[in-house]
Amino acid sequence: MANRIKYIFLFFSLLIATSLTAQEQFPRKWNTEKIKGTRQIPYPAYSGFPFLNDKFAMGEIEFSDGKKLNNLGLRYSSYRDELIYYNSAISAQIVIDKISLKSFSFTEENGVKRFFRRQYYDGFLPGERFFEVLSDGELSLLVYRKVVLQTCPPYNDNGGILKNMSYQLAYNYYIYNSKKGYELIRINKSSLLSKFDKPTQKVVKKLLRKNNISVTDESSFVRAWNLIKENEIRIDF
């Protein structure tokens, strides 16, 4: 009896396996969205770093039509505000057309996931920009991770050549609402508190104190921001 059951089980296992194989025997890569771009031209060599991430980090891009591609080696150029990906098939670093992208994200070596969104900036030097989304929602906290090439005190580079330019961080933080637009914000406690009326400021201070958050840098500012949002405290904007 036991043998018969074994054979029946074996028969059905084979049947299931065959049907599963039959479904997988046509692995077709349908015409997925293609990445369009231009070759990345090396930037002038000065002190400082023009990129946000040192190495290519694995990430995902979302095209304007909502289609996504993942497992791409991505690198964000803070200097040019452009996304570069490495195409291993043709061994080329390609600047992806900004207009073709809606957003992208990548995970850094330390495991931190960074998410960027393309948005139109209507302030000084208007245009399409990639903003890193630090906190999203009806009211978003964004950062434009800009690096600028500026003059600096003269220095000798590794080759002994005298130079007077360097890449310098020029990050701008914004509060953003789709209706009201952008408002520049500084990353410190007083700037955060200025977004509340007097009575609410006391509540916010108490909340931050209770949660041991001292707003000194970007990460503590983001933690404080998220805590305020979680406690549904209205931000004046």
Binding site: R4, E24, N31, K36, T38, R39, N87, I90
Partner: protein, 536 residues
């Protein structure tokens, strides 16, 4: 214990087979047609159907495809129309419905009488036999009110469909309601058979698939590493590419295009300079197992009905009365810019003096474009603006969006032939393709006749997804014109509601008419409710 296990396994097997066999359901406005008429069709697809489109083909008794359409599946259903060719000979035909992912093909038999020759003199024809028909469930709790037994010609009618709430909750998709002329005693069957074509387990969500094989022209063997381009000429041209493997096969999916579109497929060897040939898969060569056909004699009533219908259709043709109006294709937001990138410069040669050929145009008007014709061998180079040198390789040259490799095609083009030239002075990347600059020429005629067809370049006028169509109402007729409509009402996608009210008007044709409501429940079974009335 053993019996229990066997019973459970058998039940599992039965349900698995049943689930796999849930096929498509096909309904038409009528069973009898005259050549030159429009056939209206409605398809219900299983909820688990992966494909986004369904093929409807009209097949003769030899299995040859006469005509066909591609319909878009929305909410597990699709509807459309087929214009029956005037030249169809009288006989029984099969209307088949299939998808790329479904193993079953559903057929419906139809009789089509030739408008000029009528029924055969033998008074009989070959009819499919020995088939196991698909049976719809006649539903009782759907109430049809307001239909009278008899109507006069050009009389207005009002129908009320009452649907109980439990039925509404069971319905998957919409309801199809039609009122059309019928021949009592003549009913055709619907049946399904397993497809002999290869069933592809892939998602073809929103478009049709073009497949084929690239072979070496000398050896006739499949060619590996051939680059196949598919281009769709347009103001912003469509473009796809495929690199063949050992089997030389390629496939493209054309998404969300409606009506008839021009498509150009071309190929070239990636590394070598072999002469290649493109062979597209013949979709007209359907591998189907047809049922047996046996002679069937027509009744005098049937013959009379065919004659009456033929007269009506002839007069409709004389008065140029169209049965349906094809709606404009939906506007699909495609790429915001061409696949070759935004141009660095755009030149309109018409704004300058007339120049006789492309050599002159490039010299006088196109900055960073070097076109030479030494020893009658034309070459073209584009300036790389980012790195300040000329690209060594030939750029991507497009003529109305179609990539061309032979510069002789453009060398004689003068100012009169060219509407605009777009220049991209960058090294462009499209996935794994590299374009050392781009020259996109848009011709004044925009008819891409300059692109020559060859073994490695095929031009197609492709019927893609059929746009939506609606039945013309009698209000569109002039008062003095006869109303010769066979179909009084065709509403293939009604949203289920407790009470549905519909209006119709009878035509000048005195005949029997059938109101029929079709629907599908979430378990995959179809139901119907019908009511017959006379117009005299």
């Amino acid at each position: 214990m053993e019996r229990k296990i066997i019973t459970i396994l058998l039940l599992f097997a039965v349900f698995t087979v049943k689930a796999q066999d849930k096929g498509l359901n096909l309904f038409t406005d009528r069973d009898l047609y005259v050549s030159g008429e429009t056939l209206l069709v409605k398809v219900f697809t299983p909820a688990e159907e992966q494909s986004g489109i369904v093929n409807i083909d009209l097949i003769n008794h030899n299995g040859k495809k006469i005509t066909g359409v591609i319909l878009e599946i929305n909410n597990h259903q699709a509807d459309g129309f087929i214009s029956l060719p005037d030249s169809l000979s009288s006989g029984f035909y099969l209307l088949s419905t299939s998808t790329r992912t479904d193993k079953m093909i559903t057929y419906k038999e139809l009789y089509i009488s030739n408008r000029f020759s009528g029924l055969p003199e033998s008074n009989s024809d070959m009819k499919p036999s020995g088939i196991a028909p698909l049976v719809d469930l006649s539903i009782q709790n759907l109430v049809v009110e307001g239909i009278e037994k008899q109507y006069k010609t050009r009389q207005k009618g009002h129908v009320i469909l009452q649907l109980p709430s439990d039925l509404i909750s069971q319905i998957d998709g919409g309801l199809s309601v039609s009122i059309a002329g019928t021949n009592p005693g003549f009913n055709t069957l619907q049946f399904s058979q397993k497809s002999e074509n290869v069933v592809i387990q892939s998602n073809v969500k929103e478009g049709i698939v073009i497949e084929g094989t690239i072979t070496d022209l000398k050896t006739a063997k499949p060619f590996k590493n051939a680059v196949v381009y598919l281009s769709i000429p347009d103001s912003i041209p469509g473009f796809q590419y495929f690199v063949t493997a050992e089997d030389g096969r390629f496939s493209f999916q054309i998404e969300k295009y409606y009506g008839k579109i021009p498509v150009v497929i071309q190929c070239f060897a990636k590394e070598k300079s072999n002469l290649l040939k493109i062979t597209l898969d013949d979709r007209n060569n359907l591998k189907i197992a047809l049922p047996l056909f046996e002679p069937r004699t027509f009744t005098p009533e049937f013959r009379k009905s065919v004659e009456k219908t033929t007269d009506a259709i002839t007069f409709r043709k004389i008065f140029n009365q169209q049965e349906i109006t094809v709606q404009p294709a939906p506007i699909i937001k495609r790429d915001a810019y061409p696949y070759y990138g935004n141009p660095t410069k755009t030149i309109d040669p018409h704004l300058f003096i007339d120049l006789p050929n492309f050599n002159e145009i490039s010299k006088e008007l196109l900055p960073g474009v070097k076109f030479r014709n030494y020893n009658r061998v034309p070459t073209l180079q584009v300036f790389n603006a980012a790195q300040q040198f000329y690209f060594e390789n030939q750029p991507l040259i497009l003529l109305d969006g179609i990539p061309i490799r032979d510069l002789n095609v453009i060398k004689d083009m003068g100012t009169k032939d060219i509407a605009k030239v777009e220049i991209v002075q960058n090294e462009r990347f499209y996935d794994d393709l590299i374009f050392p600059g781009v020259i996109a020429i848009y011709t004044s005629k925009a008819d891409y006749t300059r692109v020559p067809e060859s073994n490695d370049l095929i031009k197609l006028n492709l019927e893609v997804i059929q746009p939506h169509a609606i039945l013309n109402s009698p209000l569109q007729l002039r008062l003095s014109d006869p109303d010769l409509r066979q179909v009084l009402l065709w509403n293939p996608s009604l949203k289920p509601a407790p009470k549905i009210e519909l209006d119709f008007q009878t035509s000048d044709i005195k005949s029997s008419y059938k109101l029929i409501v079709h629907g599908k429940t979430s378990d995959g079974s179809t139901f119907y409710k019908e009511q017959i009335f006379e117009v005299n």
